[in-house]
């Protein structure tokens, strides 16, 4: 990808996050720089406690960074404080979340789990369900639309949760270890789906993972260690080897 010609969907510059104050303060992020472009799936790897989840929470606008700048689609949303008043709407309309576990709403069926997001954004029930059906079809689980969450298999639940993340067609998706509970085959299927969706919808996707099965599939990986990122380009397989070395 010619990254110089396209504006990044996500741009982080010198992002810092410190928990607590005084001697007990813990600096989780020590100046993270990152750029993710539309249609790109980027891996974010690193050991436990390296700051991956903190970075995701800052990006997801659920915790406030201490310093630095966050720019989404050319719009600065954080610099010396949030630049957007309604962070809830930001999360709802511009960021999709995929979690380690599907975390579907157990009292809604598959379609309504997906349709809930557009409905929250003010889309009419009929249109929201139509959009949910489109997403479920794209993820090959439309036939399970009427099923309750408990009736879905683990793989189906994860697909529905991906469909939910895409329901408002956000420019950014943050995936927090989306393949952790899945076997190798299903994990690779999920990554393939994410790549397809990224291409199809021009979505920038950051996948936080420990999963060595899927790391080789990323074209670009950010390795986070001690709160700082190191960009590693090339085949993921090499990155894994380098990281292990």
């Amino acid at each position: 990808m010619d990254t110089q010609a396209v504006q990044p969907a996500i741009l982080l510059e010198g992002l810092r996050k410190t928990y607590g104050t005084g001697p007990a303060a813990v600096e989780a992020l020590k100046g993270v720089d990152m750029a993710v472009y539309p249609g790109e799936v980027v891996g974010l790897i690193g050991p436990s406690g390296s700051g991956k989840t903190t970075l995701l929470k800052c990006l997801g606008a659920v915790i406030e960074p201490t310093a630095g700048r966050i720019t989404l689609g050319g719009e600065v949303i954080y610099e010396h404080g949030w630049k957007i008043r309604d962070l809830r709407a930001l999360r709802r309309d511009r960021i999709g979340f995929i979690f380690q576990a599907p975390y579907l709403i157990p009292f809604l069926n598959a379609t309504d789990n997906v349709a809930l997001l557009p409905m929250l954004a003010g889309v009419s029930n009929a249109h929201a369900r139509q959009r949910a059906l489109e997403m479920l079809t794209a993820l090959d689980v439309a036939h399970r639309g009427a099923a309750q969450v408990a009736e879905l298999s683990g793989g189906e639940q994860q697909r529905v949760s991906i469909a939910r993340a895409l329901a408002n067609k956000p420019p950014i998706i943050l995936a927090d270890e989306p393949t952790a509970p899945l076997d190798s085959q299903r994990a690779l299927t999920v990554v393939t789906i994410l790549n397809q969706l990224a291409r199809e919808y021009r979505t920038a996707i950051i996948v936080v993972t420990h999963d060595e099965k899927i790391i080789p599939t990323f074209k670009r990986i950010y390795h986070i260690r001690d709160g700082r990122t190191v960009e590693q380009q090339g085949e993921g397989r090499e990155v894994v080897a380098a990281a292990n070395a």
Binding site: T53, L56, K57, G60, V62, I63, R88, A89, R91, R92, D93, F97, F99, Q100, Y103, I105, P106, F107, L108, D112, A115, L116, L117, M119, L120, A121, N125, Q148, R164, L174, D176
Partner: protein, 397 residues
């Protein structure tokens, strides 16, 4: 927009319904307690109305036969009948005791009356009035007696010749009406051994058994072993007379206490039932608090069970008001189910209570409003817990 509360309720409807049933039992008890109080007031009014007495004449400085001990000579009524404005006067006695029927016993209030005079039960649902001077009785249906039953009062057997209804004392004991003389005897009747013992004691008392005063011992015995007292005299005033004025005259000239029907109702409802009403009020408050605690705990537990989902909902942009609304609607739904079940149960078990239970619509409406208010307050705990959920909790382990 999807109604999250209705979906959540539908998802675990069995558990929700069972919880509502538990709450319904509490609400049913609460409504029944209110119904018992209403029944007590209603019983008191019905009791006074059925005697059709305009004035109750009782011992001076007492509150009358129901609230305090009152004793009058049984010839007082003669003097009262001669007073201006008095149409009729009749003696009545009251005595609470156990009455035997075959092998069972029933606690009743015995009332002695003079047939044809005020004090006689007039509203019969079965049988006939008392026509003989002795050993016939009219019983309230709550006693469980039937016309023709033989009941034992002290040493004598009575035949139930008629039945009446809504005649119960303020403590809820159903009434049995017997002729005045029998009732007077029953009040003081002792067993044979006690009578013999008393006679021996009197005969051994030199002050009462003087050889120089023949007949003294007999006179004392006759006085001691008989009863010429009644508890009240019921008066009906002549048409056109002010009952307050007649009562005032009785108080002034006879040195007796006289209450109009309204004043006696005030004594019964305002004084005698007041204590019971306060007890019921305290119970109602306790039940309301217990209900609130139960609803609060249930809603709080239900909320805690959904913490991760709530975090996800908040993360994906659900408004706090939507989440709070879901919890509030679930609490109100619980209250609604509880109230419907409670009302149904109170209606079903009401007739089986030993006391008369009056379930008024206005009490039900009040109960419904209170239930909804309690559920709203109780949901605050759950709503607080939900609003404190950090959407960041959805990200990471």
């Amino acid at each position: 927009m999807i109604n999250l509360a209705s979906r959540d309720i539908a998802h675990g409807f069995g558990r929700y319904l069972l919880t509502g049933l538990g709450l319904g039992l509490l609400i049913g008890v609460t409504l029944s307690m209110a119904g018992i109080y209403r029944g007590m007031v209603d019983d008191a009014k019905a009791l006074l109305e059925s005697w059709q007495a305009d004035i109750w004449v009782v011992q001076q400085h007492t509150l009358g036969p129901f609230a305090e001990s009152s004793s009058l000579h049984d010839d007082v009524y003669r003097g009262l009948r001669g007073m201006p404005g008095v149409a009729e006067a009749g003696n009545v006695t009251f005595l609470t005791m156990q009455v035997k029927r075959e092998r069972s016993e029933v606690r009743v209030m015995i009332s002695g009356f003079e047939p044809g005079r005020p004090g006689e039960p007039t509203l019969l649902t079965a049988g006939r009035p008392v026509t003989r001077s002795h050993y016939e009785a009219i019983a309230d249906v709550k006693t469980g007696f039937n016309v023709g039953d033989r009941i034992r009062i002290r040493r004598n057997e009575y035949t139930v010749v008629g039945l009446t209804r809504r005649m119960v004392s303020s403590s809820g004991d159903p009434m049995v009406f017997i002729p005045l003389k029998d009732a007077q005897q029953a009040q003081f009747l002792k067993d044979n051994e006690a009578i013999r013992n008393d006679r021996s004691r009197l005969a051994a008392n030199p002050a009462l058994n003087r050889p120089g005063v023949p007949g003294l011992l007999d006179a004392v015995e006759a006085n001691q072993f008989s009863n010429r007292n009644v508890n009240a005299v019921l008066v009906r005033v002549q048409p056109g007379w002010d009952r307050q004025l007649v009562a005032e005259n009785i108080k002034r000239w006879k040195y007796l206490q006289a209450y109009t029907g309204e004043e006696m109702e005030e004594v019964l409802v305002g004084k005698m039932i007041a204590t019971a009403a306060r007890q019921i009020a305290v119970f109602l408050v306790i039940l309301a608090l217990v209900s609130a605690a139960i609803v609060a705990l249930i809603i709080y537990t239900m909320t805690l069970a959904k913490i991760k989902e709530i975090a996800v909902l908040k993360l994906i942009g659900t408004r706090n008001a939507t989440i709070a609304g879901m919890i509030l609607q679930e609490a109100l739904g619980l209250g609604l189910i509880g109230f419907v079940i409670g009302k149904l149960l109170a209606t079903l078990w009401g007739p089986h209570f030993p006391r008369y239970v009056v379930l008024l619509t206005e009490d039900a409406v009040r109960g419904f409003i209170v239930t909804m208010v309690i559920c709203t307050i109780a949901s605050i705990l759950g709503i607080r817990a939900a609003l404190r959920v950090d959407p960041a909790a959805a990200i990471g382990g």
